[in-house]
Amino acid sequence: MSLKEKLISSFMAFENNVDVDHPVHEVRSEAMKNFEAKGFPTKKEEAWKYTSLNNLQKIDFSIFPKEVNALEYREVKKYFINEIDTYKIVFIDGIFSSNLSETTHDGVDICLMSSALNKPMYKQIIDVYFNKVASKDESLTTLNTAFSKEGAYIYIPKNKMPKKPIEILHFATGNEATLMLQPRNLIIVEENAEVQIIERHQSLTTNEVLTNTVTEIFAAKNAIVDYYKVQNDAANASLIDNTYINQKDKSVVKVHTFSFGGKLTRNNLNFYQNGEYIDSTMKGVTILGDKQHVDHHTLVHHIEPNCESHQDYKSIYGENSTGVFNGKIIVEKLAQKTNAFQQNNNILISDKATINTKPQLEIFADDVKCSHGCTIGQLDEDALFYLQSRGIPKKEARALLMYAFANNVLESVRIPELKTRINKLIANKLGVNLGFDL
């Protein structure tokens, strides 16, 4: 049985465990039909030209964990930003872990998707927001929609800001030989509200894990959202991240994606600007080795005038790793005075590493500023010699140059402890001590 067939038959079992009379279930059923018709994307599709899901589909993934697994905090402490206090929404093999989590309903809702989907008090919000910005057409998104049941639900009312950042963590214990996870997050940030979110997927063993996640973010007028994705997973963990963001007037949404690990990672990051004076920012640092593969697909849809978007992705590819950057910017005819910037810089430190990078601009307005640039290079030999001539050994000099290359992406990280963490991850990934405090 193929993975697609297995998913289709699992959907029936899934239906036994959810309220099929809930209006959301109609959404699920529709989505399942779409996935049944389309199946997994193939390399024949332009958007999947450089990322093949064939090998993953050969794995006989468990669709549901057989049992509820537990973890002690001390076992997984290092995966949290434990230097600071945070709200925590934690899942173990896809199931909510109340003992590792710290949720709240105190003025804001930082809780579970399952609650939001089941409890009548959330019905109105679910009706308005659920699956409203996520694609009803893209097959993996609809696959997630079909199985949507659990994940993070965050609602920040007008003028509110949670007291501390929120961490969303998904652990895979490896108690299952293989496991497919499909978390579904819904984040609503109302007018003048603000939130900081850190999301991480972490497998604790080398067993195969495939996560196909969908996050919907709604940023109302003047809302500020900082979203950090830390992708430093184990060697056999693959992630397909589908994030959809709907922005209203003067909202500012920044998504930082730090891709250092995992086997195959695909980020589909989609911004829709439904208002004026919106700022959308996407930043990424990718450092890969081994046979790792990361594919960043971004979309910014400039619909109304006077908005900005900023994209800055820096990547370092070593060994046999492969990378993709595809940045699509659409500027509608109405969207005059758009400023759209896109930058993708890559360093290949191995002859066997590959990057495919492509800007994709569709501009229908005439009074816009759009710039895009991509570079692919090796480390500058003159810069290396310069550092060496000051007594910095070649290995450290290379690392320092790579660190410097990635460093400016971190300037916009607004949680200092996270920034330090990421700095250390970068240094660690480059295999050296940089000789100064990070």
Partner: protein, 250 residues
Amino acid sequence: MLQIKNLHASVEDKEILKGINLEVKAGEVHAIMGPNGSGKSTLASVIAGKEEFEVTEGEVVLDGENLEDVAPEERAHKGVFLSFQYPVEIPGVSVTNFMKTAINEGRKAKGLEDMPANEMLKLIREKSEMLEIDRKFLSRSLNEGFSGGEKKRNEIFQMAMLEPKLAILDETDSGLDIDALRIVANGVNKLKSKDNAIIVITHYQRLLDYIVPDFVHVLHNGKIVKSGGKELALELEEKGYDWLKNQAVV
């Protein structure tokens, strides 16, 4: 301290140095002059160990040790310093962090612990004051957006921090106005001692008014064609290089 014996060096099979002989003793200042393309910068890079240049014959000996196969960073640890003609811009690394890394790597090579933070700070303050470098300058990315003069001053600041045994100043005077030249030259002079040596590479007599050489060598077409005392520099200033080029043929 430094002995260069019959040094031949090539880049991409093109021979640039064609048999250089030079001996530099502790406490001496040597000036190397010569027209563009004579091989001055190549000589500096070869002493510092740039891999792009292939030494095809002869040797560079520092304190009795042949430097062949010694990596640039190890040469730095042994006390060689090159002030670059064109210092490289490194965005993302501040001058301070760069110096901390360089100093501590040097200490590591000698089996020493990292320099304590307060000591490092004091050293940075002292040396930057000596070269009249603004504090703000030190937190900027290394050489990024620096003016020509700022870059050169930053090179001498690094030299002051690292206290090399053998400093090679490759056209440190180019891009400097007269005030900056004086500051830089004063800095170099303060660092001069009986235990170290300096090789000044320059086109012009101007710098040598401040950093007075014990010996002046003229490089032409990959060879030293004339050596003399400091008066040779004055003679060159007056006559140009042409009379020496003719001599070289003879």
